[in-house]
Amino acid sequence: MMREAYRTQLDDLREEVRGMSELVIERLNTGLDALSRHDDRLARTVLHGDEAVNQRYLSVEELCIELFALQQPVASDLRLVAASFKIATDLERVGDLAANLGEYTLATEGEAFPEVDVTALGRFALSMLENAMEAYAANDPYLCREVAARDDQLDTQCERATEVVVRELIETDHRDDVGTETLLADVSRLFLTVRDLERVGDHAVNVAARTLYMTEGDDELLY
């Protein structure tokens, strides 16, 4: 085996991305727990813990740029570095979305629309991201395609959740229960939560698409 230092750097990059993803997945889990349990302590943890993700992101970016500049990777090495560079961006965004969940938790007093199971939506999106990262770690093209195929299900569930809220707003007179301002804030927050979880799914698909490109040079999920 030649270029041993280079191969070690490539392994380090892969480990760094995996480490970053573990951190992000943990934060997303915490955010979902905070949301489902209305736990302000967990919410604050996830809201203020984004700096660690940003640091990991910068570290991945630095490694990638160093590899491009000094080693000029080609073929599968090039695809690993290019895919990792992009995947790190997606993971960083998921970190931001996890922080949003903390913010929504802190701003919510009670459970406005208990029939909308945002935690289930979140778990679904989270499992997509987990599987996308498993595919990255194991060079598994089958799992990449499987993750991408699940995005439609998530989108449908998110649409249904929105519909449920809108329908209830139309059919029920809430004006007596809470003030209009409170209702407006609750509904907006719920829509934002659903949208953010749907975006987690989109980022998971991006990770899967880059991973498929990385493993097989196949860009079918990218475009």
Partner: protein, 312 residues
């Protein structure tokens, strides 16, 4: 054989090719070209610029194949240097040949203009065509062939003559008519050297820098208006700035000529070529495809291992 020996041989070959137009040392020379013309009986050795080849050059920029080999095998004595190489080189593009030392890439380059004829122990089997015509056909005059297929070597090898005479040398020995000063100027401009030498055209080419000398050799090669330019590691002896100039020049040349370049520098191949051929140990052409495909997602695992440095 060391590089130096090789260069000496190359220089000798180049000189022979250009000076000894009446030389009959090549095995296939000295044959009656055709008995369909009245002059045939008088012309035992045809050394005209297009001897044995069609006068009409194929039109350029068509994306068609200009050089094609089918099942080429080459031996140096008992050692097989190329194994069953089949490749179609497109016109007006840059084709790079990469691979580890001894993989046969330079040997293949030398098959195209029959430089291997000059190596006694070399034996070539199979078919190799230029513009559809078999270059190993007995009617083909290697000297005429080499006018259509120019060559630039690793080490700049200008003649100990003025820059002007270096470029016009081929025109004179080939008896090419026309305004030689104009051709010299055009060739030097095409070789991106004109601005640097226009005020000292009559000074020795040996007084130029290495990078300038190499561009002078390129100007010399294109002065006789070849169709294909073969380059064997043309920038490996040059610094990065001179290398960049040669690389820019190669891109420009491809608009008018077909360039086939052998390089050990994989990044150079990636930068400048449209197609890349990867030869691996044993004289085998393992992969040939678009340069982007080869460097982004090669089909062959052996190629992957070679270009990523896992072996080589």
């Amino acid at each position: 054989m060391s590089d130096n020996d090789m260069n000496e041989r190359e220089k000798t070959a180049m000189t022979e090719e250009q000076i000894e137009t009446e030389d009959v040392s090549d095995a296939n020379r000295g044959r009656v070209i055709s008995d369909s013309t009245d002059e045939a009986d008088d012309v035992l050795i045809e050394t005209g610029p297009t001897a044995g080849l069609d006068d009409d050059k194929p039109s350029r920029g068509t994306g068609q194949t200009i050089v094609e080999s089918r099942n080429i095998d080459v031996w140096y004595g008992d050692d097989q240097a190329l194994r069953d190489v089949s490749i179609a080189i497109p016109e007006n593009e840059v084709t790079a040949m990469i691979g580890p030392s001894g993989c046969g890439k330079s040997t293949f380059l030398r098959c195209i203009n029959r430089m291997n004829d000059l190596v006694d122990i070399c034996r070539v089997e199979g078919e190799l065509t230029l513009g559809g015509k078999d270059v190993y056909d007995e009617n083909i005059d290697p000297v005429a062939l080499r006018r259509r297929v120019g060559m630039v070597f690793q080490k700049p090898n200008p003649f100990p003559k003025s820059s002007r005479d270096n470029v016009s040398y081929g025109l004179n020995v080939q008896g090419i008519e026309g305004d030689h000063d104009e051709i010299v100027e055009r060739s030097l401009k095409q070789a991106a050297l004109w601005e640097e030498v226009k005020d000292r055209l009559d000074e020795s080419g040996l007084g130029l820098s290495g990078g300038q000398q190499q561009r002078l050799c390129i100007a010399r090669a294109i002065a006789v208006d070849p169709e294909v330019i073969l380059m064997d590691e043309p920038a490996s002896a040059l610094d990065p700035i001179a290398t960049s100039k040669i690389e820019d020049l190669i891109a420009d040349l491809a608009e008018e000529y077909t360039v086939v370049i052998v390089t050990h520098n994989m990044q150079q191949a990636a930068r400048i070529s449209h197609k890349t051929a990867v030869f691996l140990t044993g004289g085998e052409l393992v992969e040939f495809g678009s340069t982007q495909k080869v460097f982004e997602n090669p089909d062959s695992e052996r190629v992957e291992d070679y270009i990523t440095g896992k072996f080589g």
